[in-house]
């Protein structure tokens, strides 16, 4: 067996063989496909954000492996063929074994705080899923070490493989059921191993691989089902788990795609009437029976799909909050921003001469347009002659159409409104941003009405305050003269809130009509033109809400009322509310008062939760806990259970920082004096690779979130960004070879260019994305790729150039350590993105990444300091 394709040193002896690069690319692809598969398993079986936690931390496998290799470099250098072979063979079996074991100890987020065992189960999940990544890292690390000065080529293969295989994994979602999605990384792994063992001509290893592959696939496909071991255990607390338990429940539709695992169930036990007035019970003769099917995406839901109702049964629409705009515009030309389960469209059709409806999820649209059963159930609503369908986001359509509408409806499009016991992941909601609201408002006819209905089941109120602020700010940004006249807001306590905006303001008669209807429904008026606010309550309301979360835990409530009060309910000094007015309504009125008066900033600052408006730069109904309050929330996590998705990001950051610093410091403890003392520029080298690791991943993750603005879907955005960036950077890495000689003068310019581009993107990217968003999907993907190409191409240069320089300078330990630092800071950077984005905006993520690349400029000069400059020659080796 001869292997000359991987040069061991910078002597330029050999050019690597293509099969090795295929092996590297495919194995790197298998690693990324496994990440995606694990994320999907968590999304469908339990909660996405815990998948993010496990996968992010599992990537520390690269850091750990570099540490081990750094400490035992010589052993790895001697046995690299064995390490590569063994690590490659182990990846597949470890992936299947880890998944099967993890699914038998399913972690239940619902009891994370209350049940001490759940912490250990989460740890077990992490440790199990960590193992295949360790094997992948051992293979790739060994190859990188051997590639030495040709690191850039191996890195090219790594990036290109990751990028293209990421796309393959997303494509696999169309053909593989969620529990079998793990087959995608397994097939990539098998291909990688075949390329490798053919390249190294090891028959013995090929036999071992064959045995491992048979065992791996047989265990997943045959043995696990035969033994009754679940490959994907769905939590009993997922929405779909309840639907499956209803005696007459029947799954009438199921389809897997990158847009989610869409399931639809029929059952007489499913009841929906979101925001229904309580008064319907006493005024309505007949309620429709079996009117809904339940739609679940990734097991979350249900969202009600409404049956085609005969006219006699549609009376109950009058008691739903989405009827509001049609009280004023009974024969409207209507635009429904999101189709969802079709309730808004059904209500609109009873009161409109024409309805244009948008749906941004292609999987949902496909189901309603093409599935015979659904078409029958819904009366084929999307093919109704009075309905036009827009196959992408409503806000993008409205931004570029000359048509104007009497009513624009955005009702309960974002969630089912039922609580999610595991918390919510941080998701971009571009349909609710100030810019989106401006678009909706502009697309109205004079006198037209925009109606936005949101769940308000939070107490203290959170999302509704953000909605109020966003809508008022949007009207002001549009230059409206008298915003006080243009709004009407009504809510039903712990149910829904509806905000109406009329272009040009509500005439008095319309206000009277809205007030009358609100009273008839037993809803509360939160704001209307002519509204008066009693500001004597302001301090007490704000303090009451703060105390509700940040009360003194050492003092029981009502402690001050003495023994006489022991037989009375607790009273913490909150004022008796105005007759019939709950505190949430008082808070809503306070918010409106401040918004109209223009001093909302002050109220938002004093309120217990973040109430700032949504913008395209900060499009989140999430992260309500102010960062400075975090230390005070730790002993009362159950109070903020719906924020666990956000809090988990802080936990991820903390754990990642702790693990990463340990991994980075270990080689120093083991070898700082003996090895690193001879290596000049240590701290600057560390800083350089830390900047690159954090900078690259922050751009990638930050742009995935930003590009949702044009691509409307987080999965597609992730696909195009991961693939586009890695392929472009791979090309950059390949091109970097020719600049290696002149790196000290070229690379700073490239880093400066990257920094400048990222800052420019942070400032101006929303405009091109808005423009791209209205193109057909194919061109949209192409233009998105073109948009990310310039920085991504340049970002392919710094890593291989510096690694190549280290190899040339024979800083072998530093080479491995640098790779590990880069990996560790990638994990930290990824965890940092949503935290920066929710607090400071997505542009801040790009600014921070740009700053990291600029900081790498001075640090780079430490990387290229030659060893000979310091230390005696005999100190180069241990």
């Amino acid at each position: 067996m001869s292997l000359t394709i991987l040069p061991k040193r910078c002597d330029g002896r050999a050019i690597p063989d293509p099969p090795v690069y295929f092996a590297v690319g495919l194995e790197a692809g298998a690693v990324i496909a496994l990440q995606i598969a694990i994320m999907r398993i968590f999304a469908i079986g339990s909660w996405t954000h815990f998948g993010s936690l496990v996968v992010s931390l599992a990537m520390l496998g690269f850091g750990l492996m570099s540490t081990i290799m750094c400490i035992a470099k010589d052993w790895f250098a001697r046995h690299w063929r064995l390490v590569c072979g063994a690590a490659l063979i182990a990846f597949g079996p470890l992936a299947v074994a880890a998944n099967l074991a993890a699914q038998q100890v399913p972690f239940n987020a619902v009891f994370l705080v209350s049940d001490p065992n759940q912490k250990w189960r989460l740890l077990a999940n992490f440790l199990l899923y960590f193992t295949p990544f360790l094997a992948g890292a051992a293979f790739l690390g060994s190859v990188f070490l051997q590639a030495g000065t040709h690191f850039n080529r191996a890195y090219f293969a790594d990036l290109l493989g990751s990028g293209l295989c990421g796309l393959v994994a997303l494509g696999a979602m169309y053909v593989l059921a969620p529990e079998n999605l793990i087959l995608a990384p397994l097939l990539l792994w098998l291909a990688a191993a075949l390329f490798w063992f053919f390249a190294v001509e090891s028959r013995r290893m090929l036999v071992a691989l064959a045995a491992a592959a048979i065992a791996t696939f047989a265990t997943h496909l045959w043995l696990a089902p035969a033994l009754g071991l679940s490959q994907l255990a769905v939590s009993d607390y997922k929405g779909v788990a309840y639907a499956r338990k209803f005696p007459d429940s029947q799954r009438v539709y199921a389809k897997n795609s990158p847009f989610g695992y869409l399931e639809i169930y029929a059952s007489s036990y499913l009841h929906f009437a979101p925001g229904l007035s309580d008064n319907a019970a006493f005024n309505l003769k007949e309620f429709p029976v079996n009117a809904y099917e339940g739609m679940y995406i990734d097991g979350d839901g249900p969202e009600g799909i409404i049956r085609a109702l005969p006219a006699a049964e549609t009376d109950y629409y009058f008691y739903l909050p989405m009827i509001y705009p049609y009280l004023l515009k009974p024969d409207a030309d209507t635009f429904v921003v999101q189709f969802g389960g079709g309730l808004s469209t059904a209500v609109a059709l009873t009161k409109s001469r024409h309805v244009t409806v948008a749906e941004s999820n292609p999987a949902v649209l496909d189901a309603f347009l093409n599935d015979a059963g659904l078409r029958r159930f819904t009366g084929d609503v999307l093919h109704d002659p009075r309905v036009s369908v827009v196959g992408y986001e409503g806000r993008l359509y409205l931004a570029h159409t000359a048509r104007r509408y009497d009513v624009i409806d955005l009702s309960l499009a974002d969630s089912t409104g039922l609580s999610n016991p595991g918390g919510f992941a941080i998701v971009e909601k571009f349909a609710y941003t100030r810019e989106a609201m401006q678009t909706y408002m502009r697309a109205l006819e004079p006198g037209g009405v925009l109606a936005v209905t949101l769940w308000n089941k939070e107490e203290p109120p959170k999302s509704v305050l953000k909605l109020y602020a966003t809508m008022v700010e949007a009207a002001r940004a549009n230059g409206d003269a008298d915003v006080a006249q243009e709004f009407f807001a009504a809510s039903c306590y712990l149910s829904t809130t509806t905000v109406l905006y009329e272009k040009g303001g509500f005439p008095a008669a319309e206000v009277a009509l809205l007030r009358k209807h609100t009273k008839a429904m037993s809803f509360d008026v939160v704001y209307d033109p002519g509204f008066r606010y009693d500001d004597t309550q302001t301090e007490k309301v704000l303090a009451g809400y703060r105390d509700q979360i940040f009360f003194d835990a050492s003092k029981p409530p009502g402690d001050d009322i003495g023994d006489d009060g022991a037989d009375a309910p607790p009273d913490t000094g909150m004022p008796d509310a105005e007759a019939g007015v709950v505190p949430a309504t008082s808070m809503g009125r306070l918010a409106w008062h401040a918004l109209i008066d223009g001093n909302f900033g002050d109220i938002a600052r004093r309120y217990v939760f973040d109430a700032r408006p949504l913008t395209n730069d900060r499009p989140y109904f999430a992260a309500y806990i102010k960062p400075l309050d975090l230390p005070r929330i730790l002993d009362r996590l159950e109070l903020v259970q719906d924020e666990w998705g956000y809090l988990l990001l802080w936990a991820t950051l903390g754990v990642a920082a702790l693990c990463a610093s340990t991994l980075i410091v270990l080689p120093v403890i083991f070898g700082w004096r003996s090895v690193f003392s001879a290596t000049p520029g240590k701290l600057r080298t560390m800083l350089y690779f830390a900047c690159l690791g954090a900078g690259y991943i922050m751009v990638e993750v930050g742009l995935i979130a930003t590009f949702v603005q044009a691509l409307s879907n987080a999965t597609v955005s992730a696909a195009i960004l991961i693939t586009g960036m890695l392929v472009a950077s791979g090309l950059g890495s390949l091109a970097s070879e020719r600049f290696l000689d002149g790196a000290p003068s070229t690379l700073p310019k490239i880093l400066l260019g990257i920094g400048a581009l990222l800052v420019a993107y942070g400032l101006f990217i929303h405009a091109p994305l808005d423009w791209i968003g209205v193109l057909p999907y194919g061109p949209r993907l192409l233009f998105c790729f073109l948009l990310i190409f310039p920085p991504a191409f340049l970002m392919g240069f710094p890593m291989p150039t510096a690694m190549g320089s280290l190899a040339r300078l024979e800083k072998d330990h530093m080479f491995l350590w640098a790779w590990g630092i880069n990996g560790c800071f990638s994990v930290i950077g990824a965890a940092l993105v949503p935290l920066v984005a929710t607090s400071f905006g997505l542009s801040a993520v790009l600014f921070l990444s740009g700053a990291a690349y600029l900081l790498a400029i001075p640090a780079f000069f430490g990387v290229v300091l030659p060893i000979a400059a310091r230390g005696p020659p005999d100190a180069r080796r241990i």
């Binding site: 239940n108 619902v110 705080v113 209350s114 049940d115 529990e179 089902p225 009754g228 679940s230 490959q231 255990a233 009993d236 607390y237 997922k238 788990a241 309840y242 499956r244 036990y269 009841h271 009437a273 925001g275 229904l276 309580d278 008064n279 019970a281 309620f287 089912t416 409104g417 609580s419 089941k457 939070e458 107490e459 306590y493 712990l494 149910s495 037993s522 809400y545 509700q548 009360f551 835990a553 029981p556 409530p557 009502g558 022991a566 037989d567 309910p569 607790p570 009273d571 913490t572 008796d576 509310a577 007015v581 709950v582 505190p583 002993d635 009362r636 159950e638 109070l639 259970q641 719906d642």
Partner: protein, 289 residues
Amino acid sequence: MKRRTFLLGSVGFLFDATLPRPASAAVPQPYSWDLLPPMESRDAFISWGVKTRGEDPKFLGERFDRFRILVANRDVWNEANKRAFLMTPREEFCLKRNLDRAYDNAYLDIGYGVTISGPHVVGRMTSSIDVQRGEKVLEIGTGSGYQSAYLAHLTDKVWTIEIIRPLAERTRGVYDALIERGYSEFKSISTKNADGYYGWQEAAPFDKIIVTCGIDHIPPPLLQQLTPNGIMVIPVGPPGAQHILKVIKQQAGDGSITVARSDIYNGRIVPFVPFTKLEGDRIIGTHNQ
């Protein structure tokens, strides 16, 4: 199909887990409304519980400790509810694997994606509807059976509906076993496995209704089955941070009916995290510390 198999397997496991009860001695003294547990001393309560109810001193002690905290925290605030809490053997309604935590303030898993609410939620919710003896109370979502067992110590007319058949059957079994042992007060609980959305028309109207399942609107049939000026309570939100919606069906002089929503404290905001550590006579910290 595979997932189904797994679920059924889990169900079997859970059912097994419920079978061995912590104590199965017969109740020495028949139940009567005059039974009044001592509330002043832990030792007195334990010896009373052993003597009159035949219960395990360990659980009696834990119940009394929790009781002290509930009272201090104003989770229960009248004599009837204090008595009801002390009379209800919560340990009988928990899974075997959670018995050590039966009197924690935490909500606990009981299988099927359902929890038994923490004592503070049960105490506050039930105290706030102020059930009088003889009133008719309907519970939607039987779950573990603990809530209705607690109610059975406030009134002798309790109806409860569970949507998940195996859970309904399991809980019925728990009641039957307890009745067999002498907890005759649980004979006043009528159970059925049905869709609680439609209430229990044959037994309507009800003075009080407790809904313990998530829903996007209040089922109109339940509002219809509530007596005029009757009260309904519904916990809203995730298990650890539930707010309790209080709905009062108001009938005006002219017979017209409206519904008023508030939280259970009529508009006052009350801190929510219960206090669980008892050191001597003092309550220290929260249960997360």
